[in-house]
C-alpha cells in the first residue's frame, strides 16, 4: 500500500500522478508534492545529491509506515533522486491518496517534514563561485515538533 523509489534517473511526475491511485473509487483526495532544484541567485550550475544507500530506503520506509499509521490513507508514494541535477529539475515527489482531503494533506506535509530532516540525503550546490553544502535549516528541524 506504499511505493518507495530511490533512484538516480529522472522520473515523470505527470505519469506518476496519472498512475497513482488510478481507478480507485474509495479515494476522494490525492495530494502531491514535487521538490524542484531552485536557483535563487541565477548562478547555480548544478545540484549534487548524495545519499546513504540502504539507510535511505529504511529511513523513508519508517517515515511512510508512521504516516500510514497516523492517517487514513489509501495509497502513498515517495520518489527521491540522487546524483546531479540542474535548476528546474524535479528532485523528488510525494503522493498521498485518502478518502478525505485533510488526511491526504496532513500525510503529505508529514512525509515532507520528515524526509527533509530524517532521510539521509545531502545537497551540494555548484556554481561559478565554487561548491558548497546546503546547510540544514533550524526551521526544518523545528517543523517536526508539530507532529
Amino acid at each position: 500500500m506504499a511505493t518507495i523509489r530511490v533512484q538516480e534517473a529522472p522520473f515523470d511526475a505527470g505519469a506518476e500522478l496519472d498512475a497513482f491511485a488510478a481507478g480507485r473509487t474509495d479515494v476522494g483526495a490525492v495530494v502531491t508534492f514535487n521538490g524542484v532544484v531552485r536557483d535563487d541567485g541565477g548562478a547555480l550550475a548544478e545540484m549534487l545529491i548524495e545519499h546513504y544507500p540502504g539507510m535511505t530506503e529504511r529511513a523513508i520506509g519508517k517515515i511512510v509506515e508512521e504516516a500510514v499509521r497516523r492517517w487514513s490513507l489509501a495509497d502513498c508514494l515517495v520518489i527521491h533522486r540522487y546524483g546531479a541535477m540542474k535548476p528546474g529539475d524535479r528532485i523528488m515527489m510525494v503522493a498521498t491518496a485518502a478518502p478525505h482531503r485533510a488526511d491526504a494533506f496532513a500525510a503529505a506535509e508529514y512525509l515532507m517534514d520528515y524526509l527533509k530532516s530524517r532521510a539521509p540525503f545531502w545537497k551540494k550546490e555548484r556554481s561559478a563561485d565554487g561548491e558548497s553544502w546546503v546547510a540544514a535549516k533550524d526551521e526544518d528541524e523545528a517543523a517536526l515538533d508539530r507532529w
Binding site: Y52, L115, S117, P120, W122
Partner: protein
Amino acid sequence: MTIDVLYFAWVRERIGQPRERVETSAATVAELVEELRGREPRYEAAFADLNALRVALDQELSDFDAPLTGVREVAFFPPMTGG
C-alpha cells in the same frame, strides 16, 4: 572489534574517503570519535564540532553516547537535507 565506518557529505570530504574498516575497542560512539581524532589532522578537522554532526548505528540514527556493542556499521554525517 572491527567496524565499518562511513562518512557522508563534507565529513567524507574532510576525511578524504567514503568508508573504512576500523579496528577499535571503543565502548561508545564518543570513544570511537576520540580515537579517530587522535589519528590525523583530517579526522580532527572532520570531528571538530560534534554539534554539527549526526551518527547512525547500523543505519539507524543514534547518539554519541550510544554503546557500540554488536554494531557493525557506524556512519557520520552532517544534518540531513532531503526533500
